[in-house]
């Protein structure tokens, strides 16, 4: 089966293929509430399990531990940094123009967290446990998406 192979690299062929695909992504019942409250009222919505009391953030319709219903509660959206990284490479592994600080932010009054960017702080100043608060886009520019939160900054 393997008696002969191509040994001349000049004979080797490949082609670059690409295909354009488009989707819409449905925010869903819980996501819709979250993004509407954020967009129109500058508010942050979490979801509390009616059975175990665990507060999910981001919110969702159901408790994944009890498989039971949740109810929506308002939270501040502020929190503290649990973990962070200073990212220097873009999606193609080329240097980013400016490093981006990503963080896992434990959100106050919830059992959940948000993964988002930190700005208005130098990388060497970021500390685990640091209190941070969200900075939103101008109201007129909000789209009802996660990027309506521009970043978090020290509070």
């Amino acid at each position: 089966m393997f008696n002969e192979k191509i040994i001349d690299p000049a004979e080797l062929r490949h082609w670059g293929g690409k295909i354009e695909l488009y989707w819409i992504y449905t925010s869903g019942e819980a996501g819709d509430r979250f993004f509407k409250a954020l967009k129109d009222e500058d508010k942050f919505i979490a979801a509390k399990c009616k059975k175990c009391g665990k507060v999910f953030f981001p919110p969702r319709m159901y408790c994944e531990f009890d498989f039971s219903e949740t109810e929506y509660v308002e939270v501040s959206g502020e929190g503290c940094v649990r973990a962070f990284t200073v990212a220097k490479l873009d999606k193609n592994e080329k240097p980013l123009e400016k490093p981006e600080i990503y963080a896992i932010i434990d959100i106050d009054g919830t059992d959940g967290c948000m993964i988002h960017l930190l700005r208005e702080v130098e990388p060497e100043e970021v500390q685990i446990g640091m209190k941070v608060k969200p900075v939103l886009k101008d109201k007129a520019e909000r789209e009802g998406k996660i990027t309506d939160i521009l970043y978090f900054k020290p509070s």
Partner: protein, 380 residues
């Protein structure tokens, strides 16, 4: 009725493979595995399990592309959308249930065909809550987990560097490991800090290759070979797809290992396991996975690593093959490479990296952005 590995074959591993397409590297691995097992796939194989994810392949409904290169046309085939070790679990169950006497497991990586690796991983990230955040490579997701882990466990950068040093030096003894290198802790600490606290050299680069295993029931295994390697236990586990409820602490590996150890009758893994191949696609993951597999205790792994406990001549050699840091990221074939090394070691066919071992564990994670994984325990 026990289940045994009666044949293994692999192709690679290489940084790229311009002369063969993914089906042809699979064919190479399959032909070698069938020769090793002494079987004719057209006649003897009852079932074929492939492990693949459409996203890595560049086309959809992967399972329709399966049978021919494995000699499996007009045979029962199924694709597990996961790592090779999940395929071992599936084949194990098919044989245990007597649906098959001989089942084949395959996984491959043609990572060099993926021109937009970062975007491909981003496609797997939650589109509502995560995908649109920032513009960095999704490696950041692993770096966040590393930040949490090293902070909780007080791990130093020198201790993480020891993993890279061990695995890349082990890889020099493996002629199938393209990223072997005589690096020192100092070399690692000079590697660029690309996702602080993670350095470039701590991220496994990509590699191509394919692995095929032939599994059989006890009677068939004893007819085929004098050196069957028994599949003693399998386990798999998923935490959640939501980052806010993920442990970022490899609970998936802890639970998968518990499942596999239970089946294997192992009550004290640190004493009963002789060798382990664990997922080290980011260097810190080796620490986390060793603890999850109960091969080391939290807060002790850094010291043990430093003392050479997990080195080739240590108490419990880990990633003798060179691991993913020495071989490369083989995508869904990662667990296949780990299982392959365990089987070669147990058979005494590991060449210059051979150690004495009777029980070995292979473990793989489903990579960023998941909290899922599988474990298999093999023994002589």
């Amino acid at each position: 009725m026990r289940v045994a590995v009666v044949g293994v074959g692999y192709s690679g591993f290489n940084a790229n493979t311009p002369d063969l397409n993914w089906k042809e590297i699979t064919l190479e691995a399959a032909a070698r595995a069938y020769d090793d097992a002494g079987i004719n796939p057209r006649k003897d194989v009852d079932s074929i399990v492939t492990c693949a994810e459409d996203i890595w392949e560049g086309f959809a409904i992967f399972d329709e592309f399966v049978p021919d290169q494995l000699g499996g046309v007009l045979k029962p085939t199924c694709t597990v959308c996961a790592d090779f070790l999940f395929g071992i679990a599936t084949a194990y169950m098919q044989i245990k249930s007597e649906l098959a006497d001989i089942a084949v497991v395959e996984a491959h990586s043609k990572a060099s065909d993926i021109l937009t690796f970062g975007e491909t991983i981003k496609f797997a990230m939650d589109p509502i809550w995560l995908r649109e955040i920032g513009s960095a490579h999704p490696y950041y997701f692993a770096a966040l987990e590393m930040s949490q882990y090293i902070n909780e466990c007080c791990i130093t950068e020198e201790q993480i560097a020891e993993v890279v040093v061990k695995n890349k030096n082990n890889a020099l003894k493996n002629s199938s490991a393209p990223y072997g290198s005589k690096v020192t802790v100092e070399d690692v600490l000079n590697s660029p800090m690309v996702f602080d606290p993670m350095r470039k050299i701590e991220i496994a680069p990509r590699a191509d290759g394919a692995i095929v295993f032939v599994l059989a029931n006890e009677d068939v295994a004893k007819d085929l070979t004098d050196t069957p390697i028994w599949v003693k236990g399998v386990g798999w586990w998923s935490e959640t797809s939501n980052y806010d409820t993920m442990s970022f602490n490899a609970v998936y590996a802890y639970k998968a290992a518990k499942m596999a150890y239970k089946l294997a009758g192992i009550t004290n893994p640190a004493k009963e396991v002789d060798i382990a191949e664990v997922d080290d696609r980011f260097a810190f993951k080796e620490f986390q996975h060793l603890e999850a597999l109960q091969l080391s205790k939290r807060f002790e792994t850094g010291t043990l690593m430093r003392e050479g406990y997990f080195a080739k001549d240590g108490e419990l050699p880990v990633n003798l093959s060179g691991g993913s840091l020495g071989i490369g990221n083989l995508l869904e074939a990662t667990g296949g490479q780990k299982a392959l090394e365990v089987v070669l070691q147990l058979r005494g066919l590991a060449g210059r990296r051979q150690v004495e071992a009777e029980t070995g564990v292979a473990q793989a994670w489903r990579y960023i952005p998941t909290a899922s994984g599988a474990v298999a325990v093999f023994g002589v």
